[in-house]
């Protein structure tokens, strides 16, 4: 991947970009007004439920007049566009872009739920759950890439770990044993990737692809041979929901954030922990140095290859955790190719999040939201093919990678061999 630097603030490019953004805001506003405002008949209400299954406090549902609400949201977009075109938001432009897109999506939801009801909390809850494997996968990717090794094998690591979690968890009768073995399996594949790409200098993309194919073939074969025959080896059970006292009683956010199983809490701990470790600790400084300029790291006595081995194995273990979520945290059994490309979406989330744990989590939430939105809309029977909605996050990723919304800049030595002379 090539190094792309941010354009200077005063260049023609950024002025053009500011104008384009302003026009985009306006366009979003007018589109929202046309489709979602005038698209819904006047006098209808959109009802948003604010309760989740487990909450004890009963909140009344929020009923909004469809047309007026959509028009209001559209007006906000147009207003933001007008300010961007006349005065400009400067550095806040990307944030404002988020706000405008958010308004557009809300207007869309208002329109989709006209004369109907939609459970807001349920949708956000499922957004969070769907983002868990993507976040963990992205963390795995960025642990590797920050040290300069491209990990395209997240998918294969997740799939293998999911399988291990299911079969070992069932055999041992303990989800904990399953989880540990799943993490170890991920770490083992990480070690394989590390040996291939560092010791044997196999092209990292090729090495990763090989692991993906291997994992898919192996787990499919074994699940057909073993799990299909011995059903009892495919029922590891799931980690129970842990409700955190007091916090889980807060309306709306309580059930969303504080009534989940182990994986969600682990995800939050890892996102914050890796963020601090990467940017505030000695370990992180050295990892980033190795990923940016391995030779410089070597000349100050840092063991470049050691750092890479450690990080890739660590990354594999985090991918293993992501895989275990499928069997032990979510579904409760293994299905063939059950990760369904989430490992690749995780890579996209890592890039979207600019190789930054918090950013990757945010990106994963966007993907998770698109995923859950598509589900919700299928229930509401919105006349838009769900495939188009599912495409939205990928389009967003392409726009980010192409540099439309700011620039994503990978670690400079990402994917490069380090050969000591």
């Amino acid at each position: 991947m090539s190094t792309i630097a941010a354009a200077p603030a005063t260049s023609r490019v950024s002025i053009r970009r500011a104008r384009v953004l302003g026009i985009v805001f306006m366009a979003l506003g007018f589109a929202a007004a046309w489709w979602f405002g005038f698209g819904s008949e006047s006098g209808l209400d959109s009802t948003f439920g604010l309760n989740s299954r487990s909450s004890e406090v009963d909140l009344p549902p929020l009923a909004l007049p469809s047309r007026e609400t959509a028009l209001l949201l559209a007006a906000i977009c147009v207003f933001l566009g007008a300010i961007q075109l006349t005065r400009g938001f400067g550095k806040q432009a990307n944030l404002i872009l988020g706000v405008a897109v958010g308004c557009f999506i809300l207007a869309f939801l208002v329109w989709a739920a006209r004369d109907d009801s939609l459970n807001m909390v349920g949708m956000l809850q499922s957004t969070l759950l769907r983002s868990v494997p993507i976040t963990l996968g992205a963390l795995s990717g960025l642990l590797c890439e920050r040290s300069g090794v491209i990990n395209i094998a997240i998918e294969g690591m997740m799939l293998t770990a999911a399988f291990m979690g299911a079969i070992v968890g069932s055999a041992a009768g303990s989800t904990w044993v399953g989880l540990i073995l799943a993490v170890l399996a991920g770490g083992l594949l990480g070690a394989l990737l590390a040996v291939l790409s560092i010791r044997y200098r196999v092209d990292q993309i090729v090495g990763g692809t090989v692991i993906n194919i291997l994992a898919l073939g192996l787990t499919s074969y074994l699940s057909a041979q073993i799990l299909a025959r011995y059903q009892n080896l495919n029922s590891p059970g799931r980690f129970p929901v842990i409700e955190i006292p007091l916090l889980s009683d807060i309306p709306i956010i309580g059930p969303m954030l504080f009534a989940n199983n182990l994986f969600i809490y682990l995800m939050f701990i890892l996102v914050i922990g890796i963020n601090i470790a990467l940017f505030r600790s000695r370990w992180g400084l050295r990892v980033r140095a190795v990923g940016e300029h391995p030779k410089a790291a070597d000349t100050v006595g840092i063991k470049v290859l050691g750092v890479r081995y450690r990080n890739v194995i660590l990354g594999g273990m985090v991918a293993g955790l992501a895989g275990a979520y499928f069997t032990l945290g979510s579904v409760g059994r293994f299905d063939e190719n059950m990760t369904g490309g989430r490992g690749f979406i995780a890579l996209a989330a890592m890039i979207f999040g600019r190789w930054n744990p918090i950013g990757a989590f945010g990106a994963a939430l966007v993907f998770g939201f698109a995923d859950s939105l598509q589900n919700t809309l299928a229930i509401l029977q919105v006349p838009i093919a769900s495939e188009f909605l599912l495409m939205a996050p990928y389009i967003a990723t392409i726009l980010v990678v192409a540099g439309v919304v700011g620039r994503a800049r990978p670690p400079a030595a990402d994917g490069q061999l380090y050969i000591k002379e």
């Binding site: 200077p8 490019v13 600790s281 000695r282 400079a412």
Partner: protein
Amino acid sequence: MKIELKGITKRFPGVIANKDVDLIVNGGEVHALLGENGAGKSTLMNVLYGLYEPTEGEVLVNGEPVTFKSPGDAIDSAIGMVHQHFMLVPVFTVTENVMLGVEPTQNFGLLDKRKARARLVELSERFGLKVDPDAMVEDLPVGVEQRVEILKALYRKADCLILDEPTAVLTPAEIDDLFEVIETLKAAGVSIIFISHKLKEVMAVADRITVLRRGEVVGSTTPNETNEQQLAEMMVGRSVQLTVDVEQAQPGEKILEVTDLEVLDDRMHRTVKGVSFEVRSGEILAIAGVQGNGQTELIEGITGMRAVETGTVTLDGKDVTGSSSKRLFEMGMAHVPEDRQEDGLVTSFPIKDNLILNTYQNAPYSKGIVMNRDAIDAGADKLVKEYDVRTPSIEVNAAALSGGNQQKVIVAREFSHSNNLLIASQPTRGLDVGSIQYIHGQIVAKRNEGAAVIIVSSELDEILALGDRIAVMYDGKIIGVLDRSEATRERCGMLMAGLSGEGVVRQSATETSAVAEDERPPPPASSAEEETTS
């Protein structure tokens, strides 16, 4: 701190890089290690710094034998190194770069940046190395990056500092600053090993000079006991003429005209900001400037290797702005690119194929879609002889040749046609003295045949020796054009540092005219065309 290298031999497969080298560096001494490129200076220092393990011999620090398995060991013994290519992480701050590897930490391994920063500030004040500890390294000019490298070594309590070709990327003014820093360090008792192939600098800064040639020590001396001529002979192994003889230029008609050219670099920054000049037949325009002031992009823009934003390039009266390299070649342009391994050669191809990269589709090398191997071999044999490429065979891959011979292959390919325009970027970078002389001779010969010539170089000596007119680039613009008769080291140096104010330049020219007389290349047609005699 006293450092001794005793009988160091370093063998690589098929090559002896250092052979039985002895070197003693005393505390508080500036010891210059002089030698041509490939003489083994860097290898020797990499041995001392723990990057290579010596095949034979030992290293003694303060009389104690030591074994360095890695740079970490050398750092522990208070040896620091400033590499020729700086070892800094561009996206880290100065403080982060300096602390990397020896980070002070608080609980849980969290960085104590405040502590590191305080120590950095203290060091930078003590040794007069001004730098903003919070600046991103990628935003700093090279001179400041070098200061960061020195601070990095001092932060590790280095008592011996190895400076590998420290002046290669600096402006004359920055070089003066560096020499002041070296004096301060010396006064504080730090020993310095100063690696260079530039005689003037070594004479100016060193207490003791050791000359290396082909991996062996040729001799050791002090600046008082020797002179540049003598050092050059030690370095090369035979007597050398340090300047090129160039007859008076006889400019003819206008060949190339560049008007208001603007070019963007890879990062989409405007690095050539409206450059205009013309070159006539039979003259050499030398473009001087510190690296990174737009020379690379300017030449790439003219030669069709990079898109031009605005402005025009006119060759022989035809607008060739944005023309392909191929069309320009067909119109008579020869181009020796700056990066010979990346742009000048296909290093994995044999010499004979590299010699026809621009003519492979023409007779006699091709007939229709079939290549004529016999003609290619015959042509290659002839060129290799004519241009003195030292190679066992034309089948040898270009990658296996020395830098000088690689450059000769390019020169053979480009110069063996009738050219009306010749553009050479950094034509002698990294070459040995013999090759430099040869290539300079070829360039001057082309000029005398009536070609318009553009030379880009960051070596002031080369600029002054070859240029009939000298254009100095600074920050993407040509800020001054000097005739051969008015060009001096000082005036060029001022312009290279961006001091274009006419008054400033004039004044310095009069003040330093006495010195300048000596340093200017000999007046045209003074002595005969002897090159090297022994």
